[in-house]
Every structure is written in C-alpha cells, then in structure tokens.
Amino acid sequence: MLRILKYVIRDILNNKIVIAYALLLAVLSWSMFSLEDSSSKGVLSLLNIILLNVPLVSVIFSTIYIYNSGEFIELLLSQPIKRSKIWSSFYLGLCISLIVAFLIGAGIPILVYSPDSTGLMMIVVGVLITAIFVSLAFFSAVFTRDKAKGIGFAIMLWLFFALLFDGLVLFLLFQFADYPIEKAMVGITALSPIDLSRIMVLLHLDVSAMLGYTGAIFKEFFGTLTGMIVTFSLLGLWVLLPFWFSLWRFKKMDL
C-alpha cells in the first residue's frame, strides 16, 4: 500500500498542478490579509475564497487524475495487490497532496495573521473540505467509464454545493418566511458540507452577532460542544460515505 501511495504522491508532485494550486492559495491568502485592515475581515474574505476554490480544485483535479490513471490502475490489477488497497492508495495520495498544498498555501498565512481559534477552525475546515471533495471525485469517477461524463458530473457536484444549494436555501427561506423554520434550516444546512463549514467558521467571528434571530438559533446549536461534535461527525460522514460507496463499486468493476 505504501509503495503505491509513494508512487501516487510522487506522480502528483511531478504534475506541478498541485504546486500551482498551493501558489494560487498563497497569493490569495497573503493579499487578502494585507488588503484588509483587521485580520478578522481578512479571515472572512478568505473564507469565501477558500470555500469556492478548494472544492473546485479538489474535485476536478482528482476526477481527472483518476481517469488518467486508468491505465496504471489496470496494470496494478494484474499484479498481486488487493483492489481496495489500490483504490485507497489513490485516495490517500490525492488527499495528502492536496491537503499539504492547502496547508502550505493558505495554512501558513492564516496562522501568521490570525493565530487564534478562528484561524485554526479555518484550517481544519479547509482540510476537511479537501478530503470531502476528493471523496466526491472518486464517487463521480467510479460511476462511468466515460471521462467527459465523469468530469461533467464532478463539476455539477461542485456547482450544486458551492452555488445552487445556497440559492435553494434562500428560496426556501423566502417561501416560508412566515413560518418558524429556523430549526429546520439547521437541519438543511447539514446537507451541504460547504455550508456546514462556513457556519463553523462564521460562528467563531464577531460578525455572527449580525446574523439576527436565525443566527442566534444557529449559534445556540452549532456553538455548543454537542453542535460542534455533530457538525464534525457530519463532515466526517461526507468524507467517508462517497469514498466508501466508490470503493464498493470499484471492487465489483470489470476492467
């Protein structure tokens, strides 16, 4: 397993896209923090950028990488290696490379400018979001052998979680504005890993005081220890479930 993992990581580093990704994150983070006068504002701007870019790069790079590795996976399958080991090595390899890129690109400036619980939460959230979207990439790549379809599906997943989901939530909010739906909203946000992450970080910032009544309900739930545990378990499920499903499919696939 380690042998394949080593190969995957070396191959990804040779690819240089991950290095460009780390540089991009570094440029964005350093400039965000130097543009804003308070670090808390910087964190807020950076949060939105991270929640848009990290999932996008993670899901698309991983999906394309899996498709491009099809030949190597096929070669490995004719060797004495367990299928689950091949698949997990590729997952871990992609996760580790992208997470390290994130830590170098965004993690360092965050720790420099905002070395508190908010900054730490940002980093944890970034790591989890990377793992989640790599997992979703495996989910979309295992569905079809058609590269265009698989990548298309991965882009749709990103679009849905990064943009459409918020629109849907807003639509629901307006439609049911006359009803007490605050508690239901808490449940609905659990359906999107990006929103969960956003709330986790926002609640650590002072701006959460401006979120109004809904914000108060959110704080009441997500701000407590139970809320935190539930949120992190949910994010953990978002990491595990898509990957677990893809592994189950991969084990039964003809190659």
């Binding site: 190597f72 004719s78 060797q79 004495p80 290696i81 003809d254």
Partner: protein, 237 residues
C-alpha cells in the same frame, strides 16, 4: 493447477462467456484461438481477476480466486496492448513492479538484456513505439519467473528479431514445465511453442485437446496447417 468451472459472463445483453469449463496443468502450453470477439481476452481477464464472472468459479492451486490476490504472484501476464502511465520511464515501471512484487525469487532478466531495454531506461512510456511497449510488457511478464504465463497476442507489433527472441524464451519456459497460455492469430509462429490447442467460438470452448491428437485427427503435419483445417471445418459447421 488452474480449474475453471461453468464460467459465465455477460456484458449487458452480450453473453461473452457461456458455461466455460477448462483445466490447465503444469507442462501444458496451449494456444487459445478463435475469431475476434469470441471471449478469449475476457477469459484471460477472468483468470486474472480483472473481470468478475457472473457465475461459475475459477480455482488456482485448489483455491478459489474470488476476492483473492496473492495467487497473482504466480502469474505473468502480457496484455494485448500494454497500457502504462505515460510520463513514467521504462526504468521507473520496472522499478515499481519489482517493489510491488517484492519477490524473493531470483529475477529473470533474460528479456531485459535480449531486448536491450537497459539502454532505454530513461525513455518515457509516451514516447515509445508500439513494439517497444510490447517488449516492456514481455519483460515484465517473464521478470518474476512465474509458474503461469498468460500471453495475449505476444508477438503482435514486434519486429522479426524481437519476435524470435520472445519465441525462444517461451520455448525455454515451456521446457521448464510451466503453464503457458498464448492467444495468437499468427498460426505459423505457434509451431514449436505449444502442445495443446483450445478453440473458442461465441463464448464457448469447442475444442480442447493435445496438439498431437489434433494433427492425427486432421491428417496434417504442422500445427498451423492443423489449425487452419480446424478453423475451416468449425466455421462451416
């Protein structure tokens, strides 16, 4: 050693393998022949565990191979068209395979030397010609001195010289008593390589017998003539 029992596989509506039954023992070197799309490659991939059959079972050394992987230590496989990661070099691929197999046996580097691959270790797989890729595939198949060799169209794309080297290697391994399974459309080159013949058509094995028997039954003196005789009768039947 390899025992295949009522193996069936279909891709959608297409039945590729229908109730295939086959036993291969040491000292058997068989040619697997049949028209295009008759299920040869699917049968080979089933033995390798790359294609998972719908029903039936395959036993290797008496153990079922389903969900197993260790048995592949004993198989050297040369695919019809070798697919390799494009930006890896020849040396890199061989290195990784050695690491994965982690074999304690002495490596069989005959082909590596005969094909002079060492001079090309720095070349990326993307830049290789079809023939050179085949040489890499062949080298990898023989490298770990496996008990079973599965060669899918081994000489397709090789130049006459390389083809001759590979054939001599196959003969040498045959004499060591290994199980060898070759698919080929070039009948003339099978002459000294095999001692058995399996003919497949439409996902079924229609003939499975020693080559001497085939020669006697068809009244021909060479393997290629005997096979073409069979092909004619089978296709008219």
């Amino acid at each position: 050693m390899i025992e295949i029992n009522s193996l069936s596989k279909s891709f959608g509506k297409l039945d590729v393998l229908k109730n295939v039954k086959l036993t291969l023992n040491p000292n058997q070197s068989v040619a697997l022949i049949g028209p295009n799309g008759c299920g040869k490659t699917t049968l080979i991939k089933s033995i390798l565990g790359m294609v998972l059959p719908d029903s039936g079972e395959i036993k290797f050394d008496g153990h079922k191979i389903r969900n197993q992987f260790q048995y592949r230590n004993e198989i050297g496989y040369m695919p019809q068209i070798g697919h390799y990661p494009e930006n890896m070099t020849i040396g890199h691929i061989i290195e990784i395979m050695k690491e994965i197999r982690n074999s304690s046996k002495e490596l069989d580097e005959d082909l590596l030397h005969a094909f002079k691959l060492k001079n090309m270790f720095d070349k990326k797989m993307r830049t290789l010609s079809g023939g050179t890729t085949q040489k890499v595939s062949a080298t990898l198949a023989f490298l770990f001195d496996p008990k079973v060799l599965i060669l899918d169209e081994p000489t397709a794309g090789l130049d006459p010289l390389a083809s001759e080297i590979l054939k001599e290697k196959i003969i040498a391994e045959k004499q060591k008593g290994k199980i060898i399974m070759i698919t080929s459309h070039l009948l003339s080159e099978l002459d000294d390589l095999i001692n058995g013949l399996i003919y497949m058509q439409d996902g079924q094995i229609l003939l499975d017998s020693p080559i001497e028997e085939v020669k006697v039954n068809t009244g021909q003196d060479t393997v290629s003539k005997a096979i073409s005789h069979i092909l004619k009768t089978m296709q008219h039947a």
